[in-house]
């Protein structure tokens, strides 16, 4: 019984110290945007590990996958899953180069407006710089631990896939450390970045299949 109260106490206590999101005011938004844009401009390359959690309300545990992401300005991205399986996608111009455990394929996205938009979203969310995107309504929040930008699509077709798109930024260097995509059903995907290195030399050959 005593342990039970102790537990309750800790739950209550930990929830009060947990970061609370507060809406940013106009000057805070301006300062935040400026910092993110400056940081994105100074970022030529990014190498980072990531862990992805797919949350579905009927599952006991989130589906966890992990891997590495490489970005090179202006628009090369390689997204590579290494656990529990090997799968990589390279976003390159109007193509997706896929390697599914040795099975290689190519998808042309030149004709698909939706795919282009999603591709752009991925590239821009890695950089964090997508505030001028007229396809989204953006709102800004702050907490003691992070700054947060929430993107809500205006386009009906995109909205049928993504209800909202959240980027969490470090307070100090304005880099994205978490991406959350919420589906209309409220199921969501969270991607958390770690071990990030910036502006190291990355050969273009990394982005070929």
């Amino acid at each position: 019984m005593r342990n039970y109260f102790l537990l309750l106490f800790f739950i209550a206590f930990s929830s009060t110290i947990q970061a609370q999101d507060v809406t940013m005011n106009a000057s805070e938004i301006a300062a935040f945007k400026e910092k993110v844009i400056a940081s994105a401009k100074a970022t030529q390359t990014i190498k980072t590990d990531f862990v992805q959690y797919k949350h579905l309300d009927f599952l006991a545990d989130d589906v966890k996958t992990s891997g590495k992401m490489v970005f090179k300005a202006p628009g090369l991205v390689k997204w590579e899953y290494t656990n529990p399986y090997q799968y990589s996608v390279i976003f390159k111009e109007d193509q997706l180069l896929i390697n599914d455990g040795g099975t290689k394929s190519k998808v042309d996205i030149g004709n698909s407006k939706l795919f282009k938009k999603l591709n752009q979203l991925i590239v821009n969310s890695v950089k964090g710089n997508m505030f001028n995107d007229s396809d989204f309504t953006v709102s800004f929040y702050k907490s003691s631990k992070y700054n947060k930008a929430v993107f809500i699509p205006k386009d009906k077709k995109i909205a049928s896939y993504i209800a909202s798109f959240e980027l969490l930024f470090n307070k100090n260097d304005a880099q994205v450390f978490e991406v959350k995509m919420v589906e209309p059903s409220q199921d969501f995907t969270r991607i958390i970045f770690s071990n990030r290195t910036l502006n190291t030399t990355i050969n273009d050959s990394v982005f070929s299949n």
Binding site: Q52, F58, V63, G101, T103, M181
Partner: protein, 208 residues
């Protein structure tokens, strides 16, 4: 006499050409068992998560297939891309099929019907036995499936379900092959169609 020979020869040709390859060379045996079971999606405690590779008419797609038993006779089957976005979300409850979600590109009646039939057979736990056959190392249970039949191949030694073949009266239509190390969870699943160029390969997520 010649006429008789000709007729019987013709009859043999016609009959054998109509018969299923599935049961060729097998002997039919009497049985007392009422139902045959597929144990691979029967535990409501388990999140069944598989890496999926789909090949349809030479094109390759990948994704994650998630299956969960959510009630006594009910399964949820969700397919997502590697990035986590849902491609479809189906629910099977007895004979009721519910389409919770499907992306516009796949929202076509013939695609949904194929997926529905494949996954319904995959998650179905019990089927009433019509006939039983035997080979050297397998027992084969024939069951009804609407206008068609399913043949469940059980390893006689281990008792493990190895294969389900879906047939019409005369032709094999689709086949599901299982491999399993413990007989409770399928490590790999291969779904192959004979009349359309579609294969679905599933590999269970490894434990961390």
């Amino acid at each position: 006499m010649i006429r008789f020979l000709a007729i019987s020869l013709l009859a043999t040709v016609v009959l054998t050409s109509c018969s299923l390859k599935t049961t060729e060379g097998l002997r039919q045996v009497p049985f007392t068992k009422i139902e045959v079971e597929n144990p691979y999606f029967s535990n409501a405690e388990i999140d069944y998560v598989y890496k999926a590779k789909i090949e349809v008419y030479g094109k390759n797609f990948g994704g994650i297939l998630i299956i969960k038993k959510i009630a006594a006779k009910s399964h949820r089957v969700v397919f997502t891309t590697e990035f986590g976005s849902k491609l479809f979300d189906f629910q099977f409850e007895d004979d009721t099929f519910t389409k919770n979600f499907i992306v516009e590109e796949l929202d076509k009646k013939f695609i949904i019907n194929i997926l529905k039939d494949d996954f319904k057979l995959l998650v179905n736990e019990k089927a009433k036995i019509l006939e039983v056959y035997e080979s050297e190392n397998q027992r084969i249970y024939k069951t009804h499936n609407d206008e068609r039949f399913n043949f469940y191949f059980i390893n006689a030694g281990t008792g493990q379900l190895q294969k389900i073949v879906n047939t019409s009266k005369t032709k094999e239509k689709m086949e599901i092959d299982f491999t399993s190390s413990d007989g409770k969870i399928a490590d790999t699943i291969a779904i192959k169609h004979n009349n359309i160029k579609l294969t679905i390969d599933l590999e269970k997520f490894k434990k961390e």
